[in-house]
């Protein structure tokens, strides 16, 4: 299983949001770090096929990002996304399961299982509009995992989670990273330190660092602050 990103670029009128990024990702957890406007979300959207790149390609096991086959292997948790307030949590996941092509009886079992994983079993039949921010975020995580994705893209997944939920989430991601490619972006350096096998650091649309982060490399947060200076200080 390999995700190949080749010279991926996104240019808006007078700004290059992502500048010829090339990556080869195999199963594991990849932490994407960068200040606001570094191009993390743009890169993730292009990897998820919801934003067309100006140039370059994204291929997962020979399946191009624009294909149904690719989307079938993908799980995505956007940074800021919405729900159908009148749907219950159960309805929402069953709906997402149908979009992901899950067979109905399997979807029922999977939804039940994931509700338990994210700790929403008791709230499953309550309307999403009654959920707290953290519960909504957990529901978002559950929908991303419905199809047992080979490629899981998580944009700021720990936002809105309390410390206990964050720890539980880290463990979950760690497990998923054993068999899937997990790409997660965050501002919280400690999340990356705890979960990620490899660190990807972005600045002005370019990758300024990629690789494993070991103790020999020093303190990641310090390195991050050095790289982003003022920008990161405002995060």
């Amino acid at each position: 299983m390999e995700l190949v990103i080749d010279r991926l670029s996104k240019q808006y009128k007078n700004k290059i949001a992502v500048d010829r990024i090339s990556l080869r990702l195999t199963p594991g957890v990849y932490g994407l770090l960068g200040a606001n406007g570094a191009g993390k979300t743009t890169l993730m959207r292009m990897i998820c096929g919801i934003l067309k790149p100006t140039g370059g390609t994204v291929v997962l096991d020979k399946a191009d990002v624009s294909t149904e086959e690719y989307r079938g292997k993908l799980g995505y948790l956007p940074q800021d996304f919405g729900y159908y307030p009148e749907f219950t949590g159960l309805d929402f996941l069953m709906y997402m399961a149908s979009l992901k092509g899950l067979e109905k009886s399997y979807a029922k079992r999977k939804v039940k299982e994931l509700m338990e994983v994210v700790g929403l079993t008791e709230q499953a039949k309550k309307k999403v509009k009654t959920y707290s921010g953290g519960m909504k975020q957990r529901l978002g995580v559950a929908q991303a995992l419905l199809n047992d994705p080979e490629l899981l893209v998580l944009d700021e997944p720990t936002a809105g989670l309390d410390p206990k939920e964050r720890v539980r989430f880290r463990n979950l991601i760690g497990e998923l990273g054993k068999k899937s490619i997990v790409l997660l972006s965050t501002h919280i350096v400690s999340d990356i330190e705890h979960i990620a096998d490899k660190v990807l650091m972005m600045k002005d649309g370019q990758l300024i660092y990629q690789g494993e982060w070991t103790e020999e490399n020093g303190d990641l947060e310090e390195f991050y602050l050095q790289q982003f200076g003022e920008e990161a200080g405002h995060e």
């Binding site: 959207r45 067309k52 149904e68 989307r71 800021d80 919405g82 067979e103 199809n147």
Partner: protein, 417 residues
Amino acid sequence: MNNFGTMYVFELKKIFKRKIVWITLAVMVLISIFMGVAEILSINTYVTEGDETEISGYEAIKREKENDLTIIGKKIDDALLSEVKDAYKGIYYTTYSEERVAVTGNISSEESVEDAKKRIKEQERLSKIYLYVRRITGDDNAIHVIDEDGLYEERMKNIQEEMTAQELTEGERAYWQEREEAITKPFTYGYAAGWELVLGELYSLNSMQLLVIAICLSTLFSEEHVRKTDQLILCSRYGKQKLYFAKLLAGITFALCSAFVLLLCSLVPTLLIYGTDGFDVALQIYAPMACWDITMGQAVLLMLLVYLAAAVLNSVISMFLSEALRNSVAVMGLMTGGMFLTLVIMIPTKYRVISQIYELLPTTIMGLWKFSDYRLINIFGGYFTNLQFAPILYVICSMVLIFVGTKLYRNYQVSGR
């Protein structure tokens, strides 16, 4: 395909979970029912010799039907015209208007009260034929001088004048000549008041279904962008293709069902009150200038087809705009604004092409008088009337919009949030 069914059900659920949908439907259903029963809620005044009698709307309908029963099946020929002539003997009117006044009466002073009552009853019995002659000739007093040949000649004269006004080609005239020859003359009178009202109600229902569709379906696509759920669905396996069609099918289903429910709410009370008689009555009894050799029932079925096809097109327009504008208020504004605009704007028939295209719009197509629109559409040598062509056109337009909408939907880029 199983997933398509599930997506379709969820899309319907999304529509029906909104309060505004239920409120809109409830209001429109009440209006539809009211349209169907409006006549029986009215009070009618009948003037008999010397006194006025107030009767309920329902009584008036019954009375009208009883009178009509005596002439149903009779040919509108010299014999029937002379009966009417006798009944209206001495009754002349000053103007052809709603408030016309009988100015001359040569009722003999020796006429007994009984005879006078009998004469007035006879007038009431034959009033439909009197009104029919007046409708063709445009003259309140024509009944006194007209005979069978004169009546049908006058009708043909009016038709020819209208054909000239509508700038018909020779080919179109020949087409109508052929259709006209297929109509049996003299016409046979029949009672089809219920179906006539249904045709009238379809005109209002057509506007009402557009309002329902504009309000209820304008969010179907725009909501995904506003709520930012688009990024979840567009990166899912079936989100870019199957879901688009599931949404469309749900929208079209909703449009057809709501149009049908509104129709039933108005049609059932109307037919319960007036009866279902007259399905086989010639269209010319209720639309004298029509040259179609069809019955009232066939006219209703054709209009129903146009009505349902218009509902499909309206729903597709609403969903297309919903995706293109990504703003439900703008969609509602455009659709209702467009509808009201077509209610007030008339394009003269002298601008033949524009006028004919305008008359093909879903908001202008309905009405009993549309059967007297002689302009035709020539397709590969075959002629179609506006009413025959409209359902085909609506389906074609819907397919084009669906195709363009597919491109818009699939190529949507989630950016700048």
